[in-house]
Symmetry: C2
Subunit: 343 residues, 2 copies
Amino acid sequence: MLTDRQLLLLQLIIDDFIETAHPVGSRALSKKDKIPYSAATIRNEMADLEELGFLEKTHSSSGRVPSEKGYRYYVDHLVSPISNPEGIKFINDIMKDGFFEFEQIVQMSAEVLSELTNYTSIILGPELNSTKLKQIQIIPLTSHTAVAILVTDTGHVEHRSFSIPDVIQPSVIEKMVNILNDRLQGVPIVQLEEVFHKEITNLMKKYIQDFDKSYEYLKSIFTQEHPVKIYVGGKSNILLQPEFNDVNKIRAFYAMMDNENEIANLLKNSKHGIEVTIGNENEFEAIKDFSLITASYQLGKGQLGTIALIGPTRMEYKKVISLLSSLSKEMSEALYKWYKSYK
Amino acid sequence: MLTDRQLLLLQLIIDDFIETAHPVGSRALSKKDKIPYSAATIRNEMADLEELGFLEKTHSSSGRVPSEKGYRYYVDHLVSPISNPEGIKFINDIMKDGFFEFEQIVQMSAEVLSELTNYTSIILGPELNSTKLKQIQIIPLTSHTAVAILVTDTGHVEHRSFSIPDVIQPSVIEKMVNILNDRLQGVPIVQLEEVFHKEITNLMKKYIQDFDKSYEYLKSIFTQEHPVKIYVGGKSNILLQPEFNDVNKIRAFYAMMDNENEIANLLKNSKHGIEVTIGNENEFEAIKDFSLITASYQLGKGQLGTIALIGPTRMEYKKVISLLSSLSKEMSEALYKWYKSYK
DNA sequence: ATTAGCACTCTGTCGGTGCGAGTGCTAACA
DNA sequence: TGTTAGCACTCGCACCGACAGAGTGCTAAT
């Protein structure tokens, strides 16, 4: 168990390192107001803290740097989230505006968040397996192309172009759309293809003449990939951090960020509440040098999405944690308002 | 006027520098097969070429490096675009597939291009002022929201959500849509708002009861920003170039790439054919260290879009110019095919 | 238990040195 | 007169040693 003095020191060391990115030495620490101990005493304590695994040295005679275990302890026990009135006000102001689309709210939030923190923000849309189809429409464009409009219960609107058989009457299309709506409303997006195949096909055959000819075309609406939507803000913020003076690190970071699937995987295990993963705690090699803070936001009937910040392990946890929790709350609220108006 | 020998030397120097990124010295040059002259002779010629402004030294006793004027001359007179069978085959293979959407073709092209060149590719959608509305549809979603589907004559499909007055009958919406389609078909996207305001309003008032109530709502369809679509491929390719070992340069580059408007400005002055701007030739500060190669592609009735590559001034012009011209041709063809099928 | 003092360690910087690549110039040559 | 060999000179760069600065660990005194 750590003594009070050790806790104090650990906290101050990490605070200091987070601020300056320089290893913290005993002498500088002893000069701080809060510290009545001499440098020597601090050195002894530091040696103990190092032995316990909370601190590290970059070389044998350098100052101390927090280890991942140190950050972990810091985040779990020592961080007192500071309130951030300006940040929250900023968020409030933004959220006050009316929004028409889910996308707007989310993209805006991502941008605000990265702006306020100077880290990179990532927002994942609501989980697909809980998002359901609300409505489907088909609009013929030309004699043999059409666009299908899918609307989800989260208000997400999507269009998918597809081709249609040469000779198909508008009235037939209308009929088909009616059947689709009748049967597919409320079906989770990820199951659309399956349900279409299993339930709709036979029904269609009964009511639509020559449906076989249309089958493949119609099917393509549901087989087209439904990519997880990812919203990113402040991609280049990471370049402002001194630890990313190394071109190779930058390369690794951007290689990861260019791969949306990987990002989605990174975030999709998120649970309720705020979660912090530090460096190697994360299972993905690509971000073993980073910290990831995730929070979930809520949309309507309890569908969850994830909002995250990615930055160096030397992250301003204090500031960021409180900001993220305000933002996720504000976002959920804005989304709720929007959701209600949209219902 | 340059002598033949000077031309040869200039060409070889630039070729060499493009390949290696190292300043080219007289001795190394004299060893090349094509060169029967001694290092001393070459030194004299180099001095002349430098005096003429085609070459530069990085320091007083370094080898020579092409100046921007040098690159310019090289591009204008010395580049013999090499054919690139594999690249072209690759492009052909990709373009062979059927596409449903304009977006697919374009995004694919951007990715192929950056893959083949290792530079960053940017493709600008067709100019807005030549893109016209083909069809508009309005689909009510809830009692007071609806989504408008705009289809352009380039096959671009776009949806815009908006709110609708509380009490409006579906039949009324249908009527409005009919009027809109009747009057707005063929109107350039950028003029939609104006035409709506000037021509439609009165018409609507005549045929639609209580149109005043709907005016603002309907108008918002046309006032929502219609952003220029930009497709980017290989954003992180630039990091592979040795000249971008400098974090500040990287920062500048990504700052620019994050700003879509700036990119659009960069490219929108493009004319027919292939154009190369080298370093400071470009009017934008942000890319004074870069070269930009643009080509235009054609879509249907002569609407032009721009396809571009951005990389270091030390770019493989030979390879890139031929690739870009093939790709723009292939793209135009694929788009034409698609356009025809879409008509 | 705390602290002052001291020897020690490691980093980063600064000046110097030597090497390699390259230049410019001059004089000799064809 | 154009070309070339030779040579002195210039930089950049890598390496080295010295040294200051920051920091540590340990010991002995308080």
